[in-house]
């Protein structure tokens, strides 16, 4: 079901956490909410679920305004980071809990719970006590329990951060396959850039309580809307420079552009540097760091500007060599610079 958040502001203990935030998740979409810790991601989830009350703004699910609905009537389920299984119940009783709240009989709900446990690859775990489960198993029980509620909207709060790296990949695949199967509108909160880009249909970037950019993973990564967004994703160097008479000049780079005059930063990705026999740019090899599958090389332009570039495998040159490069910026991304910076 489509989620629409309009002009939402939330304050906790007198401190503004979210300011005039608007965001949409299309029906059936998996939207990643990405941002550094403390940016208000969890607060946003709790507000959407009804655990926190907003100061102003509106939250709509489908056609219904749910802003003032109590949490148990919203049909919005959060899978919390700390899992929160009910410790006095078995795995099956946990999964059956939302069904019990809906008045489903014991036998029917335990049957349904067993099916869902199968679905999250925990067959036969129904009678297990929560305390006897491993971290990954608990996470999957919690996922099955969330699905048992048949949520109109599923909110995942950093669901993989408590897991080991190898388990994490498994869980991501499981969540994706369940999402493909159930098509529940899902908001995944994460601070892991790769996870956000790799799992979602769209990524919303949240900084300091405001949405910085919301677009497809490719667009968010390749065409960051702001300097902050570009900085956050990394993978690009920001080259400060100036546009005069249709030419951008910054460090060793000069490019014809169609921008009004002023100061800009060019978002320069390492793959834009192409080694070329007769390329116009001569860069000196400053540092070579072999890392196994790749080699990280630091290159210096004549004016001292440094660039990073990784080469696959080992490299045939060494520190001190001068290499020639072409610069292919394609459709370049520029950020206007504010005066005070």
């Amino acid at each position: 079901m489509k989620l629409e958040i309009e002009h939402l502001s939330v304050a906790l203990e007198g401190r503004d956490i979210l300011q005039n935030l608007s965001l949409q998740a299309e029906a059936g979409e998996l939207l990643a909410l990405l941002g550094p810790s403390g940016c208000g991601k969890t607060t946003l989830l709790k507000t959407v679920a009804g655990i926190l009350a907003p100061q102003c703004g509106r939250i709509r699910l489908g056609r219904e305004d749910i802003t003032h609905l109590p949490p148990h009537r919203r049909g919005v389920v959060i899978l919390f980071q700390d899992i929160r299984l009910f410790p006095h119940m078995t795995a099956a009783e946990n999964v059956a809990f939302p069904l019990r709240m809906r008045g489903v009989g014991r036998r029917a709900r335990l049957e349904q719970a067993a099916k869902l446990l199968d679905r999250v690859r925990l067959p036969g775990y129904g009678a297990r006590r929560v305390g006897s489960l491993s971290g990954g198993e608990r996470q999957r029980v919690a996922l099955a329990r969330a699905l048992a509620a048949e949520p109109r909207l599923l909110l995942l709060d950093e669901p993989f951060s408590a897991l080991d790296e190898n388990l994490r990949e498994d869980m991501r695949e499981l969540v994706l396959s369940l999402h493909r199967e159930f098509r529940t509108t899902t908001v995944l909160v994460t601070h892991d850039r790769g996870e956000a880009l790799g799992m979602s249909d769209r990524v919303a970037l949240l900084f300091h309580g405001e949405i910085e950019q919301c677009d497809t993973p490719e667009a968010v990564y390749l065409r960051p809307a702001t300097r902050r967004a570009a900085d956050y994703f990394g993978g690009c160097a920001l080259l400060d420079g100036e546009v005069r008479a249709g030419i951008f000049r910054g460090g060793p780079v000069a490019l014809p552009v169609s921008l009004p005059e002023g100061r800009y930063a060019l978002c320069l990705r390492e793959r834009m540097w192409r080694p070329a026999e007769n390329g116009p740019y001569a860069l000196r090899v400053e540092r070579v760091r072999f890392r196994g599958p790749e080699t990280a090389v630091t290159l210096a332009a004549a004016d001292g500007t440094l660039f990073q570039k990784t080469f696959p495998g080992s490299v045939p040159f060494q520190e001190g060599d001068v290499l020639r490069f072409d610069l292919d910026v394609g459709d370049p991304v520029f950020f206007p610079q504010e005066e005070c910076l």
Binding site: E13, K46, A49, G50, I51, P70, P71, H72, R74, V76, V77, I78, F80, D82, R84, F86, P87, H88, F97, P98, R100, M101, R102, R129, G131, S132, R145, A146, A149
Partner: protein
Amino acid sequence: MRKALFLRLFLGLAAFCILLPAALLVLWSAAARWSWPNLLPESWSGRTARELLFGAQSIWPLLGSSAALGGLAAALATLIGLLTARAAALYDFPGKPLVRFAGLLPLLIPGTVFAVGIHLALLRLGLADTLAGVLLVHVMTALPYSIAILTDVTAALGGGLEEQAAVLGAGPVRGFFAVSLPELTPGILSSMSMAFILSYSQYFTTLIVGGGRVRTLALALVPYIQGGDRSLASVYALAFTGSALGVFALFETLIHRWQKRGDRP
């Protein structure tokens, strides 16, 4: 090794301080004649036991009224304590530190001052010399302990499970009973056992506020101790400590059972 030795010494000392006087009570209660310097009584008698069980001041109605009063006070103190604890541990509101401090006030005021003062207040309210008045005072005496115990366990559990229950479709009351209450049960039982024992052993407040109309075991016990009949005093003291200990053991067993329940495979 050293730790074990210290533990043994401590346990031995504790046993000596508790079991020896208790053994003396048993001996005295069954002694017919025990004069100095004999180590043991010269003759035995069942007089005190008969007096305790079937006498003019037999124990049964006293036990009944004390237990009923204690049970009621424990239930009320725990209920109020739980509500206060939830307010203090899970919610923010203006004046919260004041409420927490006010909860501890009955502890800070000396018992006699408290009893006399509250008696005046209850006289005005028309509750002096009534069971309701005594119950109220016992609840007030137990409340600081109940609030302290329950605030700790409520804060330790937090509101997380109820939040989870709410988003899974449980209303606030249902969420509390379904997911928080089972986790709070050991704390609730601790609070009830504490409140019960406190009410059970109240003497001065019961005497002043109850005006002699509300009879409890503790109330009956004291005149015997002050009177000259050591044997009779001993048997009532034994009955009092024994029953209190019994209730305590009952609560401990319940708590233990409840906690073990979570470990079963």
